[in-house]
């Protein structure tokens, strides 16, 4: 059992090993992060659980330089007492493309967050949504299913089909990535919390 904690607070990382989540060593994962099976985390991706744990479902694809961060709300200092840690949940079959930033606390299934998109803390993505490249969505709302946000003005429209899950790509990556990168060793079951 490897010690993966890098922060002084309680930290624990679980990577389900049986169906093999593929997490590259060069990715930065901090805090209490649970990654489901068949998820691929590319090198230089960053998953940071500062203000609470992050639970990532299965079949997700998190590409390079993507940033998934559960951060403190802006007006609260990290040391304030009495702040409840909020869990960030991410569903299955989502794609976080290169360079996107996601702080949304709840993301459903089959969503695609395109390159350099920016999701704020108060957005909730349901299923089948596509947030276009370079679109910043920081409104306080629930995005309805199958919405496409595109364009420099973040225009929206509803599409009739959900984006297909990237099964081919995931299978390919799960075979090829271990040939070129070192993988983070998995932790079986739950480990006792490690304190520094």
């Amino acid at each position: 059992i490897l010690d993966l904690s890098t922060t002084p607070t309680i930290s624990r990382m679980e990577i389900h090993s049986r169906s093999g989540a593929v997490v590259c060593v060069e990715s930065e994962i901090r805090g209490d992060v649970t990654i489901g099976p068949r998820t691929v985390v590319h090198p230089k991706a960053r998953i940071i659980a500062e203000a609470g744990p992050i639970i990532i479902g299965e079949g997700n694809l998190i590409e390079e330089q993507a940033l998934i961060i559960n951060s403190y709300p802006e007006n609260i200092l990290p040391d304030t007492e009495g702040v409840e840690p909020k869990t960030m949940t991410i569903g299955i079959n989502n794609v976080f493309e290169v360079g996107c930033v996601s702080q949304a606390l709840k993301i459903g299934d089959n969503n695609v967050i395109e390159s350099k998109a920016d999701l704020g803390k108060n957005v909730i993505l349901t299923s089948g949504c596509i947030v276009g490249a370079c679109c910043q969505v920081n409104t306080c709302e629930v995005i309805p299913e199958n919405t496409v946000i595109y364009g420099s003005n973040c225009m929206r429209r509803v599409q009739t089909e959900r984006p297909q899950p990237q099964t081919l790509q995931l299978d390919f990556l799960m075979k090829i990535l271990p040939n070129y990168h070192h993988m983070k060793k998995t932790v079986k079951g739950t480990s006792t919390p490690v304190r520094n």
Binding site: I130, V148, Y150, Q159, E161
Partner: protein
């Protein structure tokens, strides 16, 4: 300091119908008139049409009209649109064709199913697909997609034919009247007005220009055309209706389904249908772009003529100003102070291959071209010599550097065909806004395009003429 190299910092004055000040990179130089020309004092002509996504060349509109005169009306919709490419009706991006495998019963044996390819159109930007509007998947990759027919097409075509005939008749009468009046003076001349004016009702501008004295070929052409379409086209006048369709009853109470409502832009890009609902937005064929050529209005020579091939970005004729006129650029500006003398470093680049002599002259008091300057400028009085542009100079190590004996107070540095020189600027106004100076630059120009006259022995093949340009520089704000 890249902002100093911005093109709109240094403006050259163009003498045309309007006095235009614009950067040298946007100007053309007519070497027959030996004058600068801007985009507003040249005439723009359409060279050819091409599709921006498949880069296919379309013959120009006139060629198409001449080939299929009888089918003009049906083809008017297809003119100027590509046959293969489509635009997304939602975001106007180019649509791409995607294939899926669907199980389909074999034609021979209906009980077995085989995978067949089905094609549909999809937009990579807004994720619109042709299935959203109910268009069935096609079994061929291209050519299967049809635009919906406009129910009013026949009526519109008949109206267009009628008005085209009317326009031709009016034009003939107008020209006959003008000829009759002008007979004693110019019996063969065609009125310039008739040619330049875009013909009424959109027959298109004429690509050929009539020079005074040329035979009247187009008149002859018109009479032949008339012989062809002798039949009169009659149209029924439009009828006004008293009763209008009433609004639906739930017009005020039905909640709006916002994703279904089309935006104005989406609606107006399809003027024949103007659908209000997104489920009626059908893709349209892609509009063609044009390649244009520019022509000097005074001497009728071409200033810019692109290649015919859409994949080529080169030009057959490219008389741009930067390849004939020395270019002034700002290199560094010290802190500008009100009524204090500052020294500004400028560079001058020689674009031609022979040595150029440049003299700078300040603007005199009351110069009508000097309207924008807010500072006094002292330019170097001596003549500046610029070496020719030598493309092989950087590879030729044995070449001796030419000795120009520069005055170090005037010339800061010299590098192949470029020199840096100082000017002194005294800002005169303390207001907000940029300090602007202007001066005249006088240089010699060898006209290689001039016709070679039978020269006497030993005469230089090209004579130098002196050109003067008015230059304005914008130096930035005063720093107190």
């Amino acid at each position: 300091m890249a902002s100093l190299l911005q093109p709109d910092r240094v403006l050259y004055l163009v003498h045309g119908e309007k006095k235009i000040r614009s950067p040298l990179s946007t100007l053309y130089f007519c070497r027959y008139c030996s004058e600068l020309r801007s985009l507003e004092c040249v005439s723009h002509e359409v060279d050819s049409h091409y599709c921006p996504s498949c880069l296919e060349n379309m013959p120009s509109a006139e060629a198409k009209l001449k080939k299929n005169r009888k089918r003009i009306c049906n083809q008017l919709n297809e003119n100027f649109r590509c046959a293969n490419c489509f635009d997304c009706p939602c975001c106007m991006h180019t649509l791409s064709t995607r294939a899926t495998n669907i199980p389909a019963p074999l034609p021979d044996d209906p009980s077995k199913t085989a995978m067949k390819k089905a094609y549909y159109l999809a937009c990579g930007f807004c994720r619109w697909t042709s299935r959203d509007v109910g268009m069935a998947d096609k079994s061929v990759a291209s050519g299967g997609w049809q635009e919906p027919d406009n129910p009013h097409t026949q009526r519109i075509n008949k109206l267009i034919e009628y008005y085209q005939q009317l326009a031709q008749r009016e034009k003939l009468e107008r020209d006959r009247k003008k000829l009759a009046r002008r007979r004693p003076y110019m019996p063969l001349a065609f009125s310039q007005h008739t040619i330049h004016v875009v013909e009424k009702y959109g027959l298109g501008t004429r690509l050929q220009r009539q020079r005074p004295g040329a035979p009247i070929t187009s008149l002859a052409g018109l009479s032949l055309k008339e012989g062809e379409d002798q039949k009169e086209i009659n149209i029924e006048p439009a009828q006004a209706l008293d009763e209008v369709e009433p609004l639906p009853e739930d017009c005020y109470t039905r909640p709006i389904n916002l994703p279904e409502v089309t935006s104005l832009r989406q609606r107006l890009l399809q003027p024949d249908f103007q659908p209000a609902g997104a489920s009626q937005l059908h893709p349209k064929h892609k509009h063609l772009l044009i390649k244009r050529s520019l022509r000097c209005r005074k001497c009728e020579h071409n200033l810019s003529k692109p290649e015919f091939n859409p994949t080529s970005i080169k030009f057959k004729i490219q008389l741009v100003a930067v390849s004939y006129i020395p270019e002034v650029r700002i290199m560094s500006i010290p802190n500008l102070r009100f009524q204090k003398e500052c020294q500004v470093l400028l560079t001058l680049t020689n674009p031609v291959e022979n040595i150029t002599h440049v003299t700078l002259v300040g603007c005199e008091e009351g110069d009508p071209e000097d309207i924008n300057s807010t500072a006094k400028v002292m330019v170097p009085t001596k003549e500046l010599v610029l070496a020719g542009k030598d493309a092989a100079a950087e590879y030729d190590e044995l070449a001796e550097p030419q000795d120009f004996q520069d005055d170090p107070d005037v010339v800061a540095f010299r590098k192949s065909n470029k020199i840096g020189f100082f000017i002194k600027v005294v800002p005169q106004r303390e207001e907000d806004g940029d300090v602007t100076v202007s001066f005249k630059i006088r240089h010699d120009f060898r006209n290689l395009a001039a016709p070679i006259r039978p020269s006497e022995e030993g005469d230089a093949p090209a004579e130098a003429i002196w050109l003067t340009h008015h230059v304005e520089l914008s130096l930035g704000p005063i720093i107190a």
